[in-house]
Symmetry: C2
Subunit: 671 residues, 2 copies
């Protein structure tokens, strides 16, 4: 590493006021109970668990983050594998649970080559393997005796080979794969089924014969993961390698035996999406924490109306910064509570379904009514989870870039901690259902619900309820008091969704418009519905006894204001839909914009730093000079640039007529 | 590089239809005259010049792009310097002009460590140096005997040292800097002035004594540039090193002599911004070209209303893809023509100002009227260029990310050619005036213009004209026929801008609201005004005799449709402002959304590929598997992943209990 700064640099004393002082002042301005709020968000147990694991990671050199952004691709992935290995070793040493390892992964904050082994490979073997197969594959995989991945996505149409592509952990790491492949029996195609295929030698780690496998190359992010490609040339596998819990081929008769209970998969997808919604809050929180703290420190210009000599203003005082950051601060809370609401609903429902099905049903005496209510709820949850996954991950992904820009020039430095985090997060907008594609599923469900409601056969769930409420009140009009009554805000969002649903239903069923011509309407409809869901969940959370009894009045009141800010700011941005659906009047929109939102910004501003503090994201996890808890921003930027930056080891030969790039060193052969 | 695919892989034949076939079919569907349109956009001379230079670059190994995205930071910057050196050598060999080198830089497509030497350092020495100083510095810099940079930006308030930060070409390359520093004479501060300071030894390239200088570390993009930091400890420089063309200190008397003609600087900033607007079209075109071609090849799902067995649809046929891509296709044309319009206005005006000033004035008999008209135009151009810079660079930056996502999963691969291009472009949204900060300048100018118009003292420029037109018609109302009359669309945009201007003027002057409370309104106002300018410039271009006489009717007609799509899609997105300003009716907005925009998408769709072809971006420049002119997408992705990806040289030891990351190779010492 480069030569340390000379003595005269080290002797320079910081200019006042320093970031540390400014953040202290910020924290003194507010009484938000950071600890209580943090425990409400994460639970005390989870925070303690995290601190315990954090201490272990910070003491291990391999997890040092200082070179993460300077390494090339081949170095990055080697470091990531070394970290993955160490994590497994630590798991053994400290007797960590799988959840402990998950927490460690979150703290390390980068994808790991073992990632798909530890998730999809293990889960698939466990869920879709017979007991015999679990013994054969799952138990060995658990012990990392075999390392696997889950190969489903293909390269694309018109590719010169039908190859698997994008498969995480496949490129260099895995020696086995669960391959989703067409099952053909005597020429008949039974569709995709999961097969366990060994792809590399257990000793040499070289690809087996007739297997062509490799890493797919550099990506916008996720470069610590070896996403791979895979081709087979008439590879044979034993009969036992087709995972047979839900579908099998009888070895004697060569007959296909039907899958059981596919609804379980349906449930898993819902769970995965609910998880994405919950995580989206945390993902965004990292960017908002960094940007909020730094904008409280970064000062630029005097307020134009200020007295001369007033000094420069922290940029967080500017309304143009507030309008970008504070609604995102509200959104991170909104998404967190929405994700938690979905998880709770999902778990309750799983319990109920279990209780109501099979042997249990008779035992507990659950009737068809209960079964129907359960399945109505599950259908609702499944459909709404699609739209919420899209809205939440888009909000988080795009929000991180807003946070980066709000940090001004320094946001562009990777020492800001935002850019690489954003790059690694972006796949979430595409996987588990592309965010645009998913909106069709939501719209299809809403149209189906609307048809049922019109036919008097509405389901026992919230979607049918809001459609029915709209129909009952449509002729009288809405007249919601969005500026005075928080419950009315939720109702206005529901009204707009219902209005759009029936409008689109008319286009499709009465005017017989083509599906394709309505895709844009479907997307708008899904977005409207998902925004309603977030507003509703957020409102329920901030008015819940759990929250109001745990927090002091001031803190609880601020969360209520965050709810209002999220909702009214969303309403303002989508003004024309709210207006054209008559959910609100033009005058209400004008007032929302000109006064209500501005007033909320004023009221929330003094508490912004404490409201991000409450998320309790450790400095080590954020790895950000700008977002440091202590506000020591500029000295940290300076320290990293001068002490941790290997570019400063290079001595250029700057003259174009000398071919050498470095003084006395020819350009490395590989370049 | 990795082992080539085995014979059985090489023997696989591509599945039909291949991308090549699909793009041929696309091109056969349209008669857009690609060559004529390309020449109209770029001129035949420029295209020929580019091809000539491209041939040279492609034959030089150092410009090979295949490893650009796999290298680490220290390797990246060395390769970039080697390229910069080779470019200077080629310049000599081929007798290239500065413009030729600029074209080569565009084709190479990455920032270069010589970048700030070749731009700001040279320009500043030339523009701000006396003849003596030009001889001393500029002429040697031209010959790369001294290598420089331009040091203005500082680290920030509360930094522990008042350091320069972010200075391009400073970190490792420059041995001189133009430093903007406070001029103090006998304790009195005369503000920032430019000083030439030597910072590194001409032989050893080591920093001089009392200079601390280095690279600031890894960034979200721009990692081929050595943005640097710089600190001085009582460094002394000769009197001649203060650039003295516009301000000097008399050596004998120690007296400060006043700057001359600062309006020249004012002009340069306008020119730089107009250039950003023009380039934004080209920047966006690269993403749109890639996404449009690939979306014509990538097929997913059957159309839901299609007959069974109809085959999968290219995703470009889906309205949800069209609504994202085609307005960006329109925007790239809109920005290009707007930038060109601004450049023309700027150049005409410079000529006029020169003619009207000094000796020339008497000669040509230009009176005060002409002078006033010239300065009114320049003021208008300066203010509007601020807003347009913000709108154009935001449109291009955010548009690239829309293009990346429209490519689905493969958009995330760096072989898509979009991600790194986007990362490198993002600083444009922050430099030359942060895009949010700039909007205040536009608003201030519009308010000033409105006050003048109200006082009957409107200027002779377009801004005063639209404000006056609004006042004259305000009471009668607007009644623009946006669905039938293209000129009325432009007027509707003007009306909305004028309406917002007078509304904000009332808030400020009558209601005396604080400047800070109006920042969000200013941003909206500036955006509205800039959108008006783009719509106006685009309209003038597509109706200009130059365009209509050059192009055949079908091609010209399509550009007219692109104008309508850009304008109406913008109007639809900003519907609530258009409605609340009474520029259009709610019914018109409904019709725009439900039919006009959808119809335009249908009409433009068959020509999309040819409309991007006309931009004539060479494959080598785009460096994209997805955007290849010939459509050979998947074989190219496969080739790069299997043949150009050094990660495939690594043989992992996958077991966590073995510390070695690679088979038989300990983890490299540096990791």
């Amino acid at each position: 590493m480069p030569n340390p700064p000379p003595a005269w640099v080290q002797a320079l004393s910081p200019a006042e006021p320093q970031g540390t002082t400014l953040l202290e002042q910020e924290r003194a301005k507010s009484k938000v109970n950071v600890d209580k709020l943090g425990e409400l968000l994460h639970t005390k147990e989870a925070l303690d668990q995290r601190d315990r694991i954090l201490a272990v990671l910070m003491s291990e050199k391999v997890f040092d983050k200082s070179q993460n952004h300077t390494l090339g691709r081949t170095e990055k992935i080697q470091v990531a594998l070394a970290r993955g290995k160490r994590l497994q070793q630590l798991k053994k040493v400290h007797n960590w649970t799988d959840e402990d390892v998950y927490v460690a992964d979150q703290l390390i904050g980068e994808p790991n080559p073992y990632g798909l082994h530890a998730s999809m490979f293990l889960v698939t073997l466990r869920e879709q393997g017979t007991p015999e197969q679990q013994k054969l594959f799952y138990e060995r995989a658990l012990k990392y005796e075999i390392i696997g991945c889950y190969a489903q996505t293909e390269l694309g149409h018109g590719s010169n080979v039908p190859s698997k592509w994008w498969i995480g952990s496949l490129g260099r790491t895995a020696n086995h794969a669960v391959v989703m492949a067409q099952l053909l029996i005597a020429g008949k195609n039974y569709g995709p089924h999961p097969f366990v295929v060994q792809i590399r030698d257990g000793e040499t780690h070289q690809p087996l014969e007739n297997v062509y496998v490799g890493d797919i190359g550099p990506k916008f992010g996720y470069n610590t993961m070896d996403n791979g490609f895979l081709l087979f040339n008439h590879v044979k596998i034993p009969h036992v390698n087709m995972l047979a819990r839900f579908a099998q081929v009888d070895q004697a008769s060569n007959k296909y035996l039907r899958p059981a209970s596919p609804s379980l998969v349906y449930g898993t997808m819902t769970w995965v999406r609910a998880n994405i919604v919950l995580q989206a809050g945390g993902v965004l929180a990292r960017g908002v924490t960094i940007a909020t703290r730094y904008c409280a420190i970064r000062r630029q210009f005097q307020d134009r109306d200020a007295e001369p000599g007033a000094g420069e203003n922290p940029v967080l005082n500017y309304k143009m910064v507030q309008i970008r950051l504070l609604p995102l601060l509200a959104a991170m809370y909104a998404l967190h509570f929405t994700g938690r609401g979905m998880m709770r609903l999902y778990q309750e429902n799983q319990e109920r379904m279990k209780a109501a099905s099979g042997a249990d049903q008779e035992k507990r005496g659950a009737g068809p009514e209960q079964l129907r209510a359960g399945s109505d709820l599950l259908a609702d949850l499944h459909a709404t989870s699609c739209g919420l996954k899209a809205l939440a991950s888009t909000t988080a992904g795009e929000g991180l870039e807003v946070c980066r820009r709000a940090c001004g020039g320094h946001g562009y430095s990777n020492y800001s901690g935002i850019g690489p985090w954003y790059s690694d997060y972006l796949p979430t907008l595409t996987w588990e259902g592309d965010n645009y594609m998913l909106t069709q599923q939501v719209a299809r469900y809403l149209l189906k619900s609307a048809r049922a409601v019109l036919a008097g056969k509405g389901a026992q769930n919230d979607t049918s309820r809001i459609l029915q409420a709209y129909l009952a009140r449509r002729d009288k009009g809405a007249s919601f008091d969005i500026l005075e009554n928080d419950g009315d805000i939720v109702d206005a969002f529901a009204w707009r969704t219902a209005h759009l649903t029936f409008e689109v239903l008319k286009y499709r069923d009465v005017e017989k418009r083509s599906w394709n011509s309505l895709l844009v309407n479907f997307w708008r409809l899904s977005t409207a519905h998902s925004q309603y869901m977030v507003v509703k969940n957020f409102y329920e959370a901030v008015t819940s006894p759990e929250l109001t009894s745990t927090l002091d009045g001031e803190t609880a009141g601020l969360l209520r204001k965050l709810f209002r800010l999220y909702a009214l700011h969303t309403l303002e941005r989508e003004a024309s839909e709210f207006f054209s659906s008559s959910a609100v009047t033009v005058r209400q929109i004008g007032l929302t914009q000109a006064s209500a939102v501005m007033k909320l910004l004023d009221e929330i501003r003094p508490h912004a730093v404490r409201l991000v503090d409450a998320w309790k994201i450790p400095d080590w996890q954020m790895d950000s000079s700008l977002g440091r808890y202590d506000g020591d921003v500029y000295p940290d930027l300076f320290r990293r640039a001068s002490q941790e930056n290997p570019v400063n080891d290079l001595v250029f030969d700057p003259y174009p007529w000398n071919d050498n790039v470095l003084k006395n060193t020819p350009l490395k052969s590989k370049l």
